[in-house]
């Protein structure tokens, strides 16, 4: 009988513990998102040399990690006294984004985090005219169009939030690190589509995305209880206890 009573109480404790855990979970919707970069068309108004249109898609793997992929078409043309240069091509990026905001705060609608992506650029570059000058005089020549494949890494801190139900906006800064322009050391591209100046080992910039967001699944996320609150309460209780002059303090004073 005693044994059965013990088992009953242990079971109650276990159930009680489960109830406590369920209070520390939140249900978070996971989304798939697809959007386009509006900074490309806006920048076309500022600089006529570059046309750049980007689309991106991402899918939440859990409340803090999302798989992401992007596709960008870029066309660049510059003409000045020294040379004419043109390049155009498609670039692909793929990687993951990490959301620093806790699931109970973000609710699957907000994100502030950082992403790491690998980028691949398939492009064609051409220098129809280049002018050189030295003591022998000035001359002109050209470099025929050639196709190349470049590689780069992209680190993107950024934020995203839900503007309306199903529509999110967000921007991210990017820092791209060139792995290879694929064109040799002499004919690095003045502009590598999807990356930027091929003569520079690192480029920085920003993108501004408007996306549609569709929830595809809901998950329960365990939220760690705030330990600090408990400690604070304990601290307050101790202070209160010492303030009354009872308990241990009563034994210490005579010493």
């Amino acid at each position: 009988m005693v044994r059965r009573t013990c088992i009953f109480f242990i079971s109650l404790f276990m159930i009680a513990e489960n109830v406590a855990v369920s209070q520390d979970t939140v249900t978070v919707p996971l989304h798939v998102r697809a959007g386009f970069d509006i900074s490309g068309p806006v920048m076309k108004l500022v600089t006529k040399e570059l046309i750049s249109y980007g689309i991106a898609a991402s899918a939440d793997i859990n409340s803090s990690i999302a798989a992401t992929a992007g596709l960008r078409y870029s066309s660049y043309h510059s003409s000045d006294v020294l040379y004419d240069f043109m390049s155009r091509g498609l670039s692909f990026t793929a990687g993951t984004d990490y959301n620093f905001i806790k699931a109970n705060v973000s609710q699957g609608r907000h994100s502030a985090g950082i992403g790491l992506r690998y980028g691949l650029s398939f492009y064609r570059e051409e220098t129809p005219k280049l002018r050189y000058t030295n003591e022998w005089g000035t001359g002109e020549t050209s470099v025929a169009a050639e196709s190349h494949t470049g590689h780069f890494l992209e680190i993107t801190p950024g934020v995203r939030t839900e503007l309306f139900r199903g529509v999110t906006i967000g921007w991210n800064l990017y820092m791209r690190l060139l792995l290879s322009a694929g064109a040799g050391k002499d004919l690095k591209p003045v502009w590598m589509p999807g990356y930027g100046p091929g003569t520079s080992g690192m480029t920085v910039g920003a993108e501004y995305y408007v996306s549609i967001s569709i929830p595809y699944r809901k998950i329960k996320v365990y939220i760690k209880p705030k330990v600090r609150d408990t400690e604070e309460e304990e601290g307050e209780a101790t202070e209160t206890g010492s303030g009354t002059g009872t308990g241990l303090s009563g034994f210490r004073n005579p010493l």
Partner: protein
């Protein structure tokens, strides 16, 4: 909504700050003229030699290009003709003239978006007269912007 406006404003400003500098014309600070560097050496010992006088020039149909006119020179650097696969130089050492013909292949090289392109060369051969020059040999084939020694001239 107010927070969103602030974030949007910061994003737009950040974008403009990063992109607008690329719209302005940037000056060129880099070296853009590849030079063929030749070191003068004493024939027999191979030690560095200093010429009392040195002139390097070339005749063209319409004019004469004078590249070097120095006293007490132990090395000299001259540009190759970027429009041709060979350059002819007249080298006057201590008043005695020799003719050197340098052959090479050429290819364009992007210095930077600001500085544009230059023509770098790969030496393929040379020939010289031997009035004062004993030997002229290729030490380093690449005539580029690195500034390395290309030829050893023994006299």
């Amino acid at each position: 909504m107010k927070r969103l406006s602030v974030i949007s404003f910061i994003a737009i400003m950040a974008t403009l700050v990063m992109f607008l500098p690329s719209c302005s014309v940037q000056p060129c600070y880099e070296e853009t003229n590849p030079l063929l560097k030749t070191v003068l050496l004493a024939s027999g010992t191979g030690e560095a030699a200093k010429a009392d006088s040195l002139r390097v020039y070339t005749y063209r149909e319409t004019d004469t290009l004078r590249f070097i006119n120095l006293k007490g020179a132990s090395a000299f650097s001259v540009p190759l003709d970027p429009a041709s696969d060979e350059s002819e130089f007249l080298i006057t050492l201590n008043g005695i003239t020799d003719t050197a013909v340098i052959r090479y292949s050429r290819k364009p090289h992007l210095v930077s978006p600001e500085c544009g392109y230059t023509i770098i060369s790969e030496l393929t051969g040379l020939k010289t007269t031997h009035n004062i020059i004993d030997t002229l040999i290729i030490e380093n084939k690449s005539v580029n912007l690195d500034g390395q020694k290309n030829l050893h001239l023994f006299y």
